[in-house]
């Protein structure tokens, strides 16, 4: 089961879950993904320890996609 999550005030929220491309869950995930991008979030896919890939399209095969907020110098 793949998950799209967003880090937020609750720790993190699961926005969508899907098992494979083409199913209703994946379409809902794509919609949620685009909504978060439009809201200014940045999507990343953790790929093992120390590795992350930034994505602009929801990868169906990813186990976990995390939406994060932009950072800035303090």
């Amino acid at each position: 089961m793949s998950r799209l999550i967003r880090m937020d005030r609750t720790g993190h929220s699961t926005l969508a879950e899907w098992t494979e491309k083409g199913e209703a869950g994946f379409e809902a995930a794509v919609e949620a993904f685009r909504r978060e991008l439009d809201a200014g979030c940045i999507a990343v896919v953790p790929e093992g320890e120390g590795h992350v890939t930034q994505v602009t399209e929801l990868p169906a095969e990813a186990d976990l996609v995390i939406m994060r907020r932009p950072i800035a110098g303090g």
Binding site: R69, I71, G74
Partner: protein, 218 residues
């Protein structure tokens, strides 16, 4: 870490005037900090010495100058260490959930170290990073120097571990971009940073130095 083919950090668009950070630019920044600190100290030491030579009875003024020299260098180090002190609301109810996600992103040793010290250790190309809630320390190869970066997410409602996870994910996406976006707060000897670190965070610095000593300079 990012490769040339991977996208750079989107946050770089907010700081187009900054030159992309590299090992050499960070080393130059470190030398500049050292020179500036030395100048600041000398600017007070020389008057103290001159006054004492001209009139030994002015030694209280000279002592004041020496105190100034010491205080200024300590203030610089304190400012640098401030980037990894706990900041903002603790959000205790949401923190365990955030801690779980952060733990999943870290390896076993880094996870234990983060839970113990509040700092996430992340090896990179520029050195070993210690990532906190609102900033990060970078120990270049050798582990003798520490660069202090002030950087974070603006979302104050996020629990502390989520703030660390934000920085960790950005760092892993594009290390040089991360070092470019972050504001540089201080660069100096590791022992100066250690002295100002809260005792609970010092094991993270020690672990970072151990890892950094094993790195080969780029």
């Amino acid at each position: 870490m990012a490769t040339a083919a991977e996208p750079s950090l989107p946050e770089l668009a907010a700081v187009p005037w900054r030159e992309r950070a590299s090992a050499s630019s960070l080393a130059a920044f470190g030398r500049l900090w050292t020179a500036w600190t030395a100048l600041s100290v000398v600017a007070f030491l020389v008057p103290a010495a001159v006054l004492f030579v001209l009139e030994p009875l002015t030694f209280p003024v000279g002592l004041g100058c020496l105190a100034h020299a010491w205080v200024i260098s300590e203030l610089y180090a304190n400012r640098g260490v401030g980037v990894v002190r706990p900041k903002g609301p603790r959000h205790r109810s949401a923190e365990p959930v955030a801690q779980g996600l952060l733990g999943d992103l870290l390896g076993h040793d880094a996870r234990e170290l983060q839970r113990q010290t509040g700092l996430a250790l992340e090896p990179g190309r520029l050195g070993v990073w210690l990532v906190g809630e609102a900033g990060a320390l970078l120990l270049p190869p050798g582990g003798r120097r520490v660069h202090c970066f002030c950087v974070g997410t603006r979302e104050r409602e996020l629990p502390p571990s989520d703030r660390i996870a934000h920085l960790l994910l950005a760092l892993r996406t594009d290390e040089a971009g991360f070092a470019t976006v972050a504001n540089r707060a201080f660069s100096g000897a590791a022992w100066r940073v250690r002295r100002r670190l809260p005792p609970g965070r010092r094991p993270a610095l020690a672990a970072g130095r151990t890892r950094a000593r094993l790195l080969v300079p780029a």
